[in-house]
Amino acid sequence: MSAVIDDHGHADHAHGPAKGLMRWVLTTNHKDIGTLYLWFAFSMFLLGGSFAMVIRAELFQPGLQIVQPEFFNQMTTMHGLVMVFGAVMPAFVGLANWMIPLMVGAPDMALPRMNNFSFWLLPAAFIMLVSTLFTPGGGPNFGWTFYAPLSTTYAPESVTFFIFAIHLMGISSIMGAINVIATILNLRAPGMTLMKMPLFVWTWLITAFLLIAVMPVLAGCVTMMLMDIHFGTSFFSAAGGGDPVLFQHVFWFFGHPEVYIMILPAFGAVSSIIPTFSRKPLFGYTSMVYATASIAFLSFIVWAHHMFVVGIPLVGELFFMYATLLIAVPTGVKVFNWASTMWQGSLTFETPMLFAVAFVILFSIGGFSGLMLAIAPADFQYQDTYFVVAHFHYVLVPGAIFGIFASAYYWMPKWTGHMYDETLGKLHFWLSFIGMNMAFFPMHFVGLAGMPRRIPDYNLQFADFNMVSSIGAFMFGATQIFFLFIVIKTIRGGPPAPAKPWDGAEGLEWSIPSPAPYHTFTTPPEVK
């Protein structure tokens, strides 16, 4: 099982990883960095999840039992920030690090040292962010969307640390994105034309462009906040001639593409997984690429649909409503393509496929509620209620998170060299599936019945569904510790994985042994 492959005599290159802790601190190897990203993301997933458990525990019953409103607001804020910037985004960067070089036949990422740096910024950022919870004034309590002036004039002292943490995360993401673009554009194996690239590579390429387009805008946004707070400017303060609504425009100019940043790579992964287990090529590859690109383009002109009740003029409302409705077209194309890929295939349901199919169905449900939210007059009723919470958890949990789980199971044999335990994997899927639906489906109901989001206590009419939600959330949360167990078990042993463990799989990553050797494709493979 020794992973010796020919390294073609780079004298200055070690043949394997360095020993000890310094391997991880100083590594420039894309697989090591991918692993670091994935572990970091998973630990943040558990941390952000534990914040969610606090929220759900408080909402288990009406009345204030466990935490006070101040702390509750910090929990909702931190849950959002940690999940978005700490769990989902780094997980996708981890997958990109591991898989993109393997998929395009590159020896490593294009900028390995920068790769190391962009990872290590993240723990620094999150230690800074999470430590604010222990400061006397408490951590950020203004929601992950941090609307001014609640996040400026009325913010706790810790907001400055929050701003610096966002800056670090932003720099990390931007460097990661540049690396991905450089790798994909410059390091593809001969013959790997753009239109031959696996969709995961395509979606990541588009995601990376979104990242470099909008993360700087977020950086600008928090910089303006910083200046308002400390240097006497008035970008967002009405008193000095600024405008709190401007904040929302700038934030959502970043925020809406950000939503797609969190879902496009999952689209790509699922577009590899469904054909594999359907034993049939992906239906409509070209249209998938164009659909992804149009979603990315449209994401820049729909931001104000988050602001329908802010009081933008009628013409603005109509424009943003129509533009938002348009997104349903390319998204629909994708879903139809996945369904057609399965049609008349030869289907099996290993864990990655279960997660992928659940992804398609549940993400579509999130898409439907998205369509409803796009209707501006109806949004007057949905905005800022639990209906919205249900909507974005349906696109992010079975969307982004299930996409990541599907990818993890799909490529775990390649990473570890062992097959995971299929029974345990399926158990993980079904518990997650049930827990997730129990937690988030009732949120549609309480939202429609009139429960606003971000409240620690509620009227009795919402009590029953909230209890169901909480039980589902606890179930979903506990299940993820079980996932940790499955992963550790797979790393430590299990049936050895062949180079290509899935008979229907396509792609360069399956042409190398499992586990993937420390150095791969030092001579570029030939792609027909």
Binding site: P62, A239, V309, F349, I361, G450, P456, L460
Partner: protein, 375 residues
């Protein structure tokens, strides 16, 4: 009994359904205005369109998941492209979207037409309460959460309108077009009454418009919808919609109150003015017991002329008029007389019939006492 199973079935369903009404509400309510009904219809239309699309797409997926499994011996087909199909499922959804956008646009245009209102109300968000001002009417007040802290902290049973009750609701007449001018004094709030389908952000420094016309009298409840800090979950909105006459009566009372308040706070009362007014008040409210010359009818009704109370510390005097004396015929006039009248009558008693104290209670002091008591 089993001869009518459908009856029992019906009863069972009915009981489940009526239960569902209580706590398991799953849908938006149609609301109480033309706009809210329009929004509800839009919501349901789009919901059913989604359901139909869902059934088709998920149906196809489940079809292949059941019939096209490898275990059924299925051999995978090879097709992976069809331009016709791709074009079809780009165009058909587009047409459906246009069909959705048309009624949505119409409703939105109606929602934005706040012109020619009958009543203008300024709604101002504060951390964490709402302030309502009836423009041109000199009526304004704060509306605070009325749920006792003990209910929130689980020390007593929660009421039906837990967290959705206020001390002073906004009152509107039926049938009138009401324009809300929504703004904020601190952070961003959002004024939301689901039954009216009105939700507008209250933004500091800016004024936003919304409107409603409610057709049915009733009490409508809503909440702040934008995170505004610690007690975001504790600043409900209650709107009481009354018949026109009841509304006018209510408004009249509020105006009188406001006028009175203005009188209290704006006017500087002199001792003579208070004495003069107190004379009148005394001779309507007090004279029956304490008699015209303050001599009283001892022992039942003590004299005020030269009495310890009327010549003693002014505070005690005010207190006894305000609170009454339990176990005696002395009533608590704090609830019965206006601040001006109480101040006047106390001042009068201390400066009549040879009680020449020369001091006075101002209406403001009475108001302060009243406010201190009500806390």
């Amino acid at each position: 009994m089993m001869r009518h199973p459908h009856v029992w079935m019906g009863l069972l369903l009915w009981s489940i359904f009526s239960q569902a009404q209580a706590a398991w509400t799953v849908n938006m309510a149609p609301g109480a205005t033309e706009i809210s009904h329009a929004v509800f219809d839009l919501h349901m239309t789009i919901f059913w369109i989604c359901v139909v699309i869902g059934i088709i797409v998920f149906g196809a997926m489940f079809w292949s998941m059941i019939l096209h499994r490898r275990s059924t011996g299925q051999v995978a087909a090879k097709f992976h492209e069809s331009t016709t199909v791709e074009i079809l499922w780009t165009i058909v959804p587009f047409i459906i979207l246009v069909a959705m956008a048309v009624p949505a646009t119409a409703t939105l245009i109606k929602m934005y037409d706040a012109s020619e209102p009958d009543i203008d109300i300024q709604v101002t968000g504060y951390q964490w309460k709402w302030h309502y001002k009836y423009l041109g009417q000199d009526v304004e007040f704060f509306s605070n959460l009325a749920t006792p802290a003990d209910q929130i902290h689980n020390k007593e049973a929660k009421g039906e309108h837990y967290l959705l009750e206020v001390d002073k609701p906004l009152v509107l007449p039926i049938g009138a077009k009401v324009r809300f001018l929504v703004t904020s004094a601190d952070v961003i709030h959002s004024w939301w009454v689901p039954a009216f389908a009105v939700k507008r952000d209250a933004i500091p420094g800016f004024v936003n418009e919304a409107w409603t016309r409610v057709e049915k009298p009733g009490i409508y409840r809503g909440q702040c919808a934008e995170l505004c800090g610690k007690d975001h979950g504790f600043m409900p909105i209650v709107v009481e919609v009354k018949e026109k006459a009841d509304y006018e009566k209510w408004l009249g009372e509020r105006k009188a109150e406001a006028a009175q308040l203005k009188e209290l706070t704006s006017k500087e009362w002199t001792l003579d003015e208070l004495k003069e007014r107190g004379d009148k008040v005394y001779h309507t409210a007090c004279v029956a017991c304490h008699q015209a010359e303050g001599q009283g009818l001892p022992p039942m009704f003590p004299a005020l002329k030269g009495s310890k109370i009327a010549t003693g510390p002014i505070k005690d005097h005010l207190s006894i008029v305000f609170h009454g004396k339990p176990g005696t015929a002395m009533a608590a006039f704090g609830k019965q007389l206006s601040e001006v009248d109480i101040a006047a009558v106390v001042t009068y008693e201390r400066n009549a019939w040879g009680n020449n104290k020369g001091d006075m209670v101002t209406p403001k002091e009475v108001l302060e006492l009243k406010q201190a008591e009500s806390k």
